[in-house]
């Protein structure tokens, strides 16, 4: 999957140029993180890929040329409050017209994989923020997507919950090997999860540079290593450079 | 339709004809009274308008305000509770309300023959009232009135469908199978002029004939103002004499207040209603004359129909009328005793 010369300008008075000529290649099964200052348009990239927004010019192409199955995680869980967790997770399958038995099976297994095992029958209001986010991830994965887009999904959660969910996400990715594109504000999170961290400049967003993350293993303990810290520093410097570069 | 509009705003419409004849009326110190009619201005009230036009009320020392009524106006209750001193009710209403705490006294019975009738379209299959009542037709009437119970008693009426009696003629005109309550000289006349031929069955032919369009007051008012009451009755008699002789002027005045009925229709109606207003009784006594015997008959009939729980012991107490030649029009100073 590749983005070529992707541009997005929002009309208005004055018009806002959010993205300027983004070129990005995503290898199948790769995990890429997009990082940058607020307003640099990183969420816009995801939305264009998902079809929620349209590029002003440029575009993207997928290989093979069929549109892949896409899963999306928003910044909020966005669960339907009147449905149980299992019905929420099954929603994408329901919208596709999958029969009930099959839906139930797949949703059940997705729920198990995000470790929400006993809560399939619970209502979203009774769950904590972290658990709701797990359900959202389950929903994003239930249709077995080839491309998973994540828009700062764990940003609203506390540090410890965030670590656990990152670990969960990593495990899921390792097993299913979908292509993942993660937008985040957290450098440690980007380094922990991604094979490649791409840095964007402030608005209008352009790719300033990238850091290849070549960690041998990504266990919880790796966060405390020097190697990890160095990688974080490199990304940080790149980011500072991006922010000093243009306003 | 227009009739409905007229009658629903009726309570607010006060027609004061004071000053019609004499600009110095108020300075002469006339007694102001109001009369609550139970329908819109129509030939059934012709005597009132005639009395006003001929200056008869003025001569009698009365300043009369005529308040139009309608189907939603509770005229009997207004009179019985003393809100208005005089009013028009039907004979059955007087007996009913008196049984429920009212104390109405009848002074003048406009109709010796009850004009209540049922009309059907000319083309309909029923040739007599009995035939209609035994069928499964739909009849728009006031189902709670005594005459309906009387007809049910007499002819059965199990298959009949009774619906609400409205003032609008639209339903009847649009539905050739509908039968409708009316006054013999009113709705049929209007419809004839609109080229809708009808057949009319007067209810009194079946044997139920209460006094109708009865002028009443309360016992308390009569006791406190006997001269006023006497003057009112005398004036009304003279007014009716004048109206029976020539109704055209009064009809012109009433037609202005009642857009639902044209002058032409009113003139025709006035002609048709004569035989119900005049008969041997009125010719030998006076217009509006009442007898205890007829009141008794009504009470007995209503009692047997279950509409009246008890027949009043003293039937004389429910009506009062001054003798025929009762002296000059102006109110006497002494109390003229109840007749």
């Amino acid at each position: 999957m590749a983005l070529r010369g992707l541009c997005r300008t929002f009309s208005g008075d004055p018009p806002v140029e959010a993205l300027r000529s983004i070129d990005l290649d995503l290898a199948p099964g790769s995990f890429t993180a997009l990082i940058g200052p607020s307003g640099c348009g990183k969420t816009t990239v995801l939305r264009i890929l998902a079809g929620l927004d349209e590029a002003s010019s440029g575009g993207f192409e997928f290989e093979p040329s069929r549109t892949p199955r896409i899963g999306y995680c928003f910044q909020e869980p966005r669960l339907l409050p009147w449905r149980r967790i299992d019905a929420n997770v099954a929603l994408p399958l329901e919208l596709e017209g999958m029969p009930r038995e099959e839906r139930r099976r797949r949703a059940g297994s997705a729920i198990e994989r995000v470790e929400l095992g006993g809560f399939a029958a619970a209502m979203p209001a009774t769950l904590s923020g972290g658990m709701r986010m797990r359900a959202a991830v389950a929903r994003a994965l239930v249709a077995e997507p080839q491309l998973l887009l994540l828009d700062e999904p764990f940003g609203a959660l506390d540090e410890v919950t965030r670590y656990r969910l990152d670990e969960m996400l990593h495990d899921l990715w390792r097993r299913d090997r979908f292509t993942a594109l993660l937008v985040t504000h957290s450098i440690p999170e980007a380094v922990f999860l991604a094979e490649r961290v791409v840095v964007l400049s402030p608005r209008p967003g352009r790719i300033i540079g990238e850091v290849v993350v070549d960690l041998a293993e990504r266990t919880p303990q790796v966060r405390a290593t020097d190697e990890f810290a160095h990688l974080v520093q490199r990304v940080y410097r790149l980011l500072l450079e991006a922010m000093g570069d243009g306003a | 339709m227009m009739r409905a509009v007229c009658s629903t705003t009726a309570l607010a419409v006060a027609i004061s004809l004071a000053g019609c004849g004499d600009p110095d009326a108020t300075s002469r110190g006339r007694t102001s009274v109001s009369v609550q009619l139970n329908w819109v201005p129509e030939p059934e009230f012709g005597g009132f308008w005639q009395a006003e036009l001929d200056g008869v009320f003025a001569d009698a020392g009365l300043d009369v305000e005529l308040i139009a009524g309608g189907p939603s106006v509770p005229s009997a209750q207004l009179i019985a509770s003393g809100k208005v001193p005089f009013g028009i009710v039907s004979g059955g209403e007087l007996l009913s309300i008196n049984e429920r705490g009212g104390s109405l006294v009848a002074l003048f019975a406009t109709f010796q023959g009850d004009p209540t009738a049922i009309m059907v379209h000319e083309a309909s299959p029923w040739k007599t009232l009995e035939e209609l009542w035994r069928s499964d037709a739909t009849v728009a009437c006031e189902a709670n009135l005594p005459f309906v119970t009387f007809l049910n008693r007499k002819y059965g009426g199990e298959n009949l469908k009774l619906v609400a009696h409205s003032t609008a003629l639209a339903n009847f005109v649009n539905d050739p199978t509908l039968a409708k309550q009316c006054f013999v000289f009113a709705e049929p006349v209007t419809l004839e002029l609109q080229n809708v031929p009808v057949r009319v069955f007067p209810v009194l032919e079946s044997g139920f004939n209460p006094y109708t369009a009865v002028l009443v007051t309360t016992r308390e008012h009569l006791a406190a103002n006997p001269e006023t009451c006497r003057a009112m009755v005398m004036a009304l008699r003279r007014g009716w004499d004048g109206y029976l002789a020539d109704p055209t002027k009064a009809n012109a005045a009433m037609a202005k207040l009642n857009p639902a009925m044209s002058v032409e229709a009113m003139n025709l109606a006035a002609k048709k209603q004569r035989f119900l207003v005049e008969d041997e009784t009125t010719r030998s006594h006076a217009v509006g004359w009442m007898t205890g015997e007829r009141w008794n008959t009504l009470a007995e009939q209503m009692n047997s129909l279950g509409k009246l729980e008890q027949i009043p012991d003293e039937i004389e107490a429910i009506f009062w009328q001054p003798p025929v030649d009762d002296g000059p029009m102006a109110p006497a100073l002494e109390d003229s005793a109840t007749s």
């Binding site: 079809g51 339907l80 919208l95 | 189902a143 609400a164």
Partner: protein, 264 residues
């Protein structure tokens, strides 16, 4: 640890108020010697209700059927119209004033025309009830549709959901609390509409609906029966309201906060 408020404490205030009102009523009639044709005593009303219980029971049934029929139509039509108007601002701006007209037209004037169009009997009664009850359902449904969470709409866009799917799976459940509020209001109005319709279109007789009983009693100066019938009409209203309320509780209890506090 606070003890739960005992049931009796909740029920006591309204019962006390009702009892006091009845007592004042009785005293007023006695003291001012109000004649029966103006205001009956509470005792007379109860007696009339007992004596005419057959007629009144049939009347309650007929009125309940008319009101329920009108309510059902108003509910279905109102939700449909509210949903359609919620689809676009253009539609809403175009048609909402027309629906306001529904609320403005006085039913008393409209009822006789309904009889001309629909004939005598239950049809005109159901139409009356439906007309009066329709507007609150439309207004509340529209309000609910307009306040559906935009984030959730986007979720459905992500999955390329069609209009029908979106309505059934997102908009209708999301609007349900609003809709139920509208239905509660409509229930009471439906009974009023039915009674007014009955004034002009009902068949008289032993099975006449309450509206006809009220009008007949009024014309015969039987205020005791009239008040009794009016009271029973109010009970029909309460009953319909109660059923709708209960239905709302059933639908919403699992997830909506408003349903958890038993509102009345």
């Amino acid at each position: 640890m606070r003890r739960a408020v005992p049931r009796i404490a909740v029920a006591a205030p309204p019962i006390a108020v009702v009892a006091a009102t009845v007592l004042l009523w009785w005293l007023a009639v006695r003291t001012f010697e109000i004649p029966e044709y103006l205001l009956p005593t509470p005792g007379a009303v109860l007696e009339a209700v007992w004596v005419e219980r057959d007629r009144l029971a049939w009347g309650m049934l007929a009125t309940a059927i008319g009101a329920s029929g009108g309510f059902a139509i108003a509910a279905a039509l109102g939700i449909a119209i509210g949903s359609i108007l919620g689809l676009s601002r253009f539609l809403e701006r175009g048609f909402y004033p027309l629906t306001l007209l529904l609320q403005m037209v006085p039913l008393v004037a409209l009822a006789p025309i309904l009889v001309v169009w629909l004939g005598y009997g239950q049809r005109a009664v159901i139409a009356s009830a439906a007309i009066v009850a329709l507007f609150p359902v439309i207004a509340n449904t529209l309000g609910g549709m307009r306040s559906v969470d935009r984030d959730l709409e986007e979720l459905f866009s992500l999955h390329r959901a069609g209009l029908a799917s979106r309505w059934w799976r997102l908009r209708l459940p999301a609007s349900l609390p609003s809709i139920v509020t509208g239905l509660r209001i409509a229930a009471g109005l439906a009974v009023i509409g039915a009674i007014v319709g009955e004034f002009v279109s009902a068949y008289a007789g032993d099975r006449a609906p309450l509206g006809m009983v009220i009008v007949s009693a009024m014309r015969e100066y039987r205020t005791d029966l009239m008040f009794g019938a009016i009271g029973l009409a109010a009970i029909v209203g309460f009953a319909l309201f109660g059923i709708v309320n209960f239905g709302g509780w059933l639908l919403l209890r699992r997830w909506h906060a408003s349903a958890r506090s038993s509102s009345d």
